[in-house]
């Protein structure tokens, strides 16, 4: 994972609530075996409407998206995070996120910043003409004005993002603990370990 600390730039003021992952990337884009190139399909239905915020010239290459409640609900497709990255988005600010999307965002180094609705409303206003800064180290969103909006972030995720840590690499270092768990499990609940063998015996 690449290191993430401060994200600064224009923010696309989308503002919609319940933006589901089918809206972020429709299913017909999912027929790929790669993580690349999905930006072309990102927010496809929204972008078909004339005057949509994504196609406003000022927001070309903007690193931040501002949305409404329950962003990323629905399908678990990580293609949503890949599509956003591919179009240059590295942070989303919203009042709330779906559990699966916030995990997928984190794994791809996208900051999912939760702020109360009234602060999101203020940022939607500011974003029309001004840049926004997200400082992960100090956990605060600022504007060129006096706004300072502190946000919460899971300490483990913050640590991984600031240091660019590979979660799988970290977990593989815990191999001894996993082996111990597997031994205990094999003693106490041995039937958990036999699905494939059961099938072959059955067949």
């Amino acid at each position: 994972m690449k290191q993430v600390s401060t994200i600064s730039g224009r923010a696309i003021p989308l503002g919609l609530k319940n933006v589901d992952t089918d809206v972020i990337i429709p299913a017909h884009w999912l027929k790929t075996v790669s993580r690349e190139g999905l930006g072309k399909g990102a927010f496809e239905t929204i972008r078909q409407a004339p005057g949509n915020p994504f196609d406003v010239e000022d927001f070309a290459g903007a690193p931040i998206l501002i949305a409404g409640d329950n962003f990323g609900c629905g399908s678990s497709r990580e293609h949503a995070a890949w599509a956003m990255l591919d179009m240059g988005l590295t942070a989303v600010i919203a009042p709330s996120f779906s559990d699966i999307f916030s995990g997928n965002a984190f794994k791809n180094g996208i900051l999912a910043v939760e702020l109360p609705q009234e602060q999101v409303d203020r940022l939607l206003e500011v974003a029309k003409d001004h840049p926004i800064t997200i400082d992960l180290e100090n956990q605060v969103v600022t504007t060129p004005f006096q706004d300072r909006f502190p946000f919460e972030v899971d300490p483990f995720r913050k640590h991984c993002l600031l240091n660019g840590l590979d979660e799988i690499g970290l977990t593989l270092e815990r191999d001894a603990a996993i082996e111990t768990h597997e031994r205990v499990r094999a003693d106490s609940l041995p039937w958990l370990d036999t699905p494939t063998r059961n099938r072959r015996e059955h067949a």
Binding site: G74, S76, I100, N198
Partner: protein, 478 residues
């Protein structure tokens, strides 16, 4: 000293924690991993690039479902027919190559057991009570119907599980959805879960694992429980589960991947111990009056946009929240519906009976019961019935259900995800409506511009017969 009373979720969670970090993040062991063609290729590729192997291929099962066409897969001479869409064919080929390369059991596209991964898991006895089950698909919540802690994951997590058989997670909060009383005649598990989502909202369960409690669930078949738990994610909850009981044990016993003999008896003993303790506390509790649940349909583009079939399309003005008012106005515009329209007057051109929510044998029986001796209305252009697996299809055919569907003007298809998500040839054209037994009515979900009305299999069959959304209770039995 007696230990603190725990919920079913807490008992399963505790039994699977490998390690707990100081910051509260837990390394959690995964018992069962289901893999399909769409969300796995990038994970396998990353393993290959890093020179990593699959830690427990024996706890992993792969089956294709999402992008397979549901038209016949073999020619009359038994040879496999190619998939016309090149990208879908490549994705399928990737899974076909990755499964054996990493030593994973693979149910191929023409195997009799092939089907939608969330139908196949319980049907094969791969999904068991008290286990942790994951899959790169949000409807993995379905497996909570057998009393498992089951949830959808992204592709990076698929890779993490393949490499380590664990996930890094924080414990969820617990929510009890207690349903009191009994469902009325003609009211199905699908109506109940649509109603529940209408009550809690699509974000109501975010951060929670739901336990569905009450006599209704004790009396419910395993198929019905899978339907309810399947849509937990539509209420924002990553997982939902129902305490495992004799109904579940009877369903699972003897299935191919289930334990056998002495191991089975030991497993059942453990499963019985998992029920939520007397006095255990939930972080949130929602009470639903079963008698108030009617056959339910959706009117908008979010699964929380539901109403009883006797109701009308709501006006945006009735919603308190300004953002919701705006969303409702947009929804109604997309859906082409005017406020105040009685739901029963909404005409549908397409009928889809299938998906991981409603494609099991009980669902097909319920639809067939309505369709028997009837035909779809002339105004219904396209009606398909898509069994959830090859085994469901075979059983339905043994019961003669396929004939009932085809006599009624339905197409009888091969198993797969089909028209639920518009990534295979089964799509709803722009501007047309579909009465669909699937789980999501999102904008463009069944195809660009398609308009989805979620409902139960019996209600979908009733809509097919009349050509408009219809209270199935009004159709006299034939």
């Amino acid at each position: 000293m007696a230990s603190k009373p725990r919920t079913l979720y807490e008992k399963i969670w505790d039994a699977h924690v490998v390690e707990r970090q100081d910051d509260g993040t837990c390394l959690v062991y995964i018992d069962r991993h289901l893999v399909h063609e769409v969300t796995s290729p990038q994970a396998f590729e990353a393993l290959r690039l890093a020179g990593r192997k699959v830690r427990r291929p024996d706890l992993t099962l792969a089956v294709p479902d999402h992008n397979l066409p549901t038209t016949p897969r073999t020619a009359p001479d038994g040879s496999r027919l190619p998939i016309a869409d090149k990208q879908s064919a490549a994705q399928l080929a990737a899974l076909e190559a990755n499964a054996p390369a990493f030593g994973i059991d693979y149910i191929d596209a023409v195997a009799p057991e092939q089907g939608i991964v969330h139908v196949v898991g319980p049907e094969q006895g791969f999904s068991l009570p008290g286990t942790t089950i994951v899959c790169g698909d949000s409807h993995t919540a379905a497996h909570g119907g057998v009393g498992a802690l089951a949830f959808g994951i992204g592709t990076s997590e698929v890779e993490h599980v393949l490499a380590t058989q664990t996930l890094l997670l924080r414990p969820s909060k617990t929510m009890e959805v207690r349903v009191e009383g009994e469902l009325g005649p003609g009211v199905t598990p699908k109506d109940l879960i649509l109603h529940i989502i209408g009550v809690i909202g699509t974000a109501g369960g975010t951060g929670y694992v739901i336990e569905y409690r009450g006599e209704v669930f004790e009396k419910m078949s395993v198929e019905g429980r899978l339907t309810v738990c399947n849509m937990s994610i539509e209420g924002g909850a990553r997982a939902g589960l129902i305490p495992p009981d004799q109904t579940v044990f009877d369903y699972l016993e003897g299935r191919p991947y289930a334990p056998q003999g002495e191991a089975w008896d030991k497993a059942v003993d453990w499963w019985r111990s998992l029920a939520t303790d007397e006095g255990a506390e939930f972080d949130k509790s929602v009470v639903i009056d079963a008698a108030a649940v009617e056959p339910t349909v959706s009117w908008g583009t979010s699964p929380e946009d539901v109403v009883a079939i006797g109701g009308t399309v709501p006006s945006p003005a009735v919603f308190e929240d300004a953002a919701k008012r705006e969303a409702v106005a947009k929804s109604l515009d997309y859906m082409g519906l005017a406020p105040g329209t009685p739901m029963e007057q909404v005409k549908v051109e397409n009928i889809f009976i299938g998906s991981c929510t409603n494609s099991r044998i009980e669902d097909l029986r319920a639809a067939a019961e309505v369709l028997k001796g009837r035909r779809k209305a002339a105004s219904v252009r396209w009606a398909i019935a898509v069994p959830g697996s090859g085994l469901v299809k075979r059983q339905a055919e043994e019961e003669g259900l396929d004939r009932i569907f085809t006599d009624a003007g339905f197409e009888w298809r091969e198993p797969g995800c089909s028209a639920c998500l518009a990534m295979n040839p089964d799509k709803v054209p722009p501007g047309e409506r579909c009465a669909s037994t699937s789980n999501r009515n999102f904008v463009g979900r069944q195809g660009p511009g398609a308009r989805t009305h979620l409902l139960s299999p019996a209600m979908a069959a009733a809509a097919a017969v009349t050509g408009h959304l219809t209270d199935v209770r009004k159709l006299s039995p034939k």
